[in-house]
């Protein structure tokens, strides 16, 4: 009957079935509709950019881990997400080699340099994008129109530079100029709903992020609906401000984080030099994550009132 092999380990003796891999898979699933739409709107170029970005991110992760003589953990799916998210923030006109450089930078200086998954303070995909913005500024701001394929500005750019507004419906469906994944608000919301349903993300983050942008733009005299639908806000609200590693773990902290990011988006879009503010709003708030967690600790059971 073999009692010789009894496992003696500490309680609890049962674990939930949830795994890191499953969480990552859910995020990938949630991004698929928006990814498919980018291929539909921008053609095979979009697919190529996506595949190159993912491949470069995964390869960079594996290579760095090999060099550091650490276990290779690409099967956890996190590098795939970084590559995919980065691709979705890029222009369809981006040369493929630049895409690869961005993905390597995202994994290298955005994640592995801090020790890998779980240790990075900033969202790696956004670090990759920020790296590309300063390295290849021209390519990072050249956009094409999905209808005729000729170069054109994004709706936010059009508004900022020429004062031309784009229709809500076009923004909602995604038939506008912009990066691969930030064009279709509809499909991004769909993916976000899936993550909410699966319990992967906390509703507080998109709610307070989007809510703050709407209130701020309204108060400052801009069109809140336009600002909600345009640019990378939906992608940021559901997939980047919700990144587990780089955002607060407390519920109150999540509200503080997303409200702060919302304020930054509105300020940058309305007063800043850049037409879009999502990238910097999240990166800037990432720096505050540890301190937000520190000051938003949940009230503990039976806490004695400090006198």
């Amino acid at each position: 009957m073999g009692y010789g092999n009894l496992v003696v380990s500490s309680s609890p003796h049962i674990r939930s079935e949830e795994t890191v891999q499953r969480i990552m898979l859910d995020v990938i699933i949630a991004l698929l509709p928006a990814t498919a739409a980018s291929v539909y709107f921008f053609g095979m170029r979009a697919l190529a950019i996506t595949l190159v970005s993912i491949a470069a991110a995964v390869a960079a992760e594996a290579a760095i881990q090999k060099i550091r003589k650490k276990p290779v953990t690409v099967s956890d799916g996190s590098a795939v997400i970084t590559g995919l998210l980065l691709a979705l923030t890029l222009s369809p006109a981006m040369p493929l080699w630049m895409v690869a450089v961005g993905a390597v930078a995202a994994i290298g200086i955005g994640k592995q340099v801090y020790g890998g998954l779980g240790s990075n303070p900033f969202n790696p995909a956004l670090v990759g994008r920020a790296f590309l913005v300063v390295t290849f500024p021209v390519h990072m701001t050249t956009w094409i129109n999905p209808v005729d394929g000729v170069s054109s500005a994004t709706p936010l750019g059009l508004l900022k530079m020429e004062g031309t507004a784009t229709g809500y419906m076009e923004l909602f469906i995604g038939n506008v100029g912009g990066s691969l994944g930030e064009t279709s608000a509809l499909l991004l919301i769909l993916g976000g709903m899936y993550l909410l349903y699966r319990g992967i993300i906390d509703w507080r983050i998109p709610a307070f992020y989007l809510g703050t942008v709407a209130v701020m733009t309204l108060v400052l005299g801009a069109d809140p609906i336009f600002h909600l639908l345009a640019g990378g806000l939906m992608l940021g609200a559901f997939f980047m401000a919700t990144d587990m590693v780089t955002t607060p773990v407390t519920r109150t902290g999540k509200i503080v984080f997303s409200t702060g990011a919302g304020v930054l988006v509105a300020v940058i879009r309305l007063y800043g030099g850049y037409p879009e503010g999502v990238l910097f709003s999240i990166l800037l708030m990432n720096t505050f994550t540890p301190i937000i967690d520190k000051y938003t600790r949940p009230k503990i059971y039976g806490e004695v009132k400090q006198s």
Binding site: V7, P12, H13, R15, G116, G118, V249
Partner: protein, 445 residues
Amino acid sequence: MPMKLLTFKGGIHPPHNKHKTKGLSLEKAKVPDLVIIPLQQHIGAPCEPVVKVGEEVKLGQKVGEPKGFVGAPVHSSVSGKVAAIEKRPHPGGGMVLAVVIESDGLDTPDENVKPKEKLEDLTADQIKNIMREAGLVGMGGAAFPTQVKFSPPPDKKIDTVILNGAECEPYLTSDHRLMLERSKDVVNGIKAMMKAVNVEKGYIAIEENKPDAIKAVTEAAKGEESIKVVALKAKYPQGAEKQLIKACTGREVPSGGLPMDSGVIVNNVGTAAALACAIDTGMPLVERIVTVTGSGIKEPRNLIVRIGTPFADVIEQCGGLEDDIGKIIHGGPMMGIAQYTIEVPVIKGTSGMLILKEQDLGLSQESPCIKCAKCVDACPIGLMPTKLEGFAQKGMMQEAEEYNAVDCIECGSCSFVCPAKRPLVERIRLIKADIIAERRKAKQA
């Protein structure tokens, strides 16, 4: 009648896994040939043996007397002869001095075992004395001496007694069957407890996933104006003392305090039934209900087992073990203790024996924390397990203390939900013990 479900903040929903035994009636287990009565089956000072090797003992005879105030005597669960007084493996871990008794199979009761007066005629002190003499301890698993619980310092005003029938540990059904089949004992037990501390408010709290038990106990408590049967949300750890107090009374036990600091005494339903039995028959705590279950046992059952029965005997009466056994657990899957041998005996706090096959252990390698915050949301105390675990790993005691590590109730909810499979509670438990040891040292200095 739909009742409002009472509950607490946080918690988890592990699969209940009670289906195998919840429909099985209580059965008396065979009287074993040999019982091992550990002299420590409770929190507090161990007992001194009061019998000698070779001495004849009777059923219900006291064989160990506690040395300190915090303790409970132990009794022989058979009649027969003391074969040895020696250290034996204990289900709580380590080797503990035990009185080993060979049964003569006759169950001749001790002359001290005789019915007490009717509850109406007993005074509070007499009830407390019965608690002590019967060796009653908390039967939910923690095994705190019952009489000590009922002797709070005079400045602590107790106004409520709560019976814990939550049974929130997955797999276990011993309390469920007890409430169903001995509901009158449960009600009589709480009446005696309320009389022992002279309170007017009593709750019997049961999780909603046991509607038949709620019905049976409500029926048994009919006409008792001061006893309220309440339904709790089925959520782990609903049966943890602090969470139960919050759910029933809305009060919180102050951090670092005891339930009596919020005017409440909590007891397991099994303890109440054992008290009723001690008053009715005079028989001390010599047997208890044990749920024997899990994928690794051939015939899961709810058995009434004599204290001191070796696990091996119980397993044999349940058809034996399946192949590929991974773990044998004393208690439930969330807070129970894994055993390395089946020579350990059933003790007063043995609510269950859970036997899991290797494939059901869900053992997997831990990976880095991704700060998903599931542990933060699950913690019923409002702690940040991910932070505490980090402090524990780095030995940062001061920080862990500041983040209230000592308030951890070790329920294991954080480890259960962790997608990275990190042993959170295990590490927090260690640093918590370090902090408490350090405080004790500082106090002495």
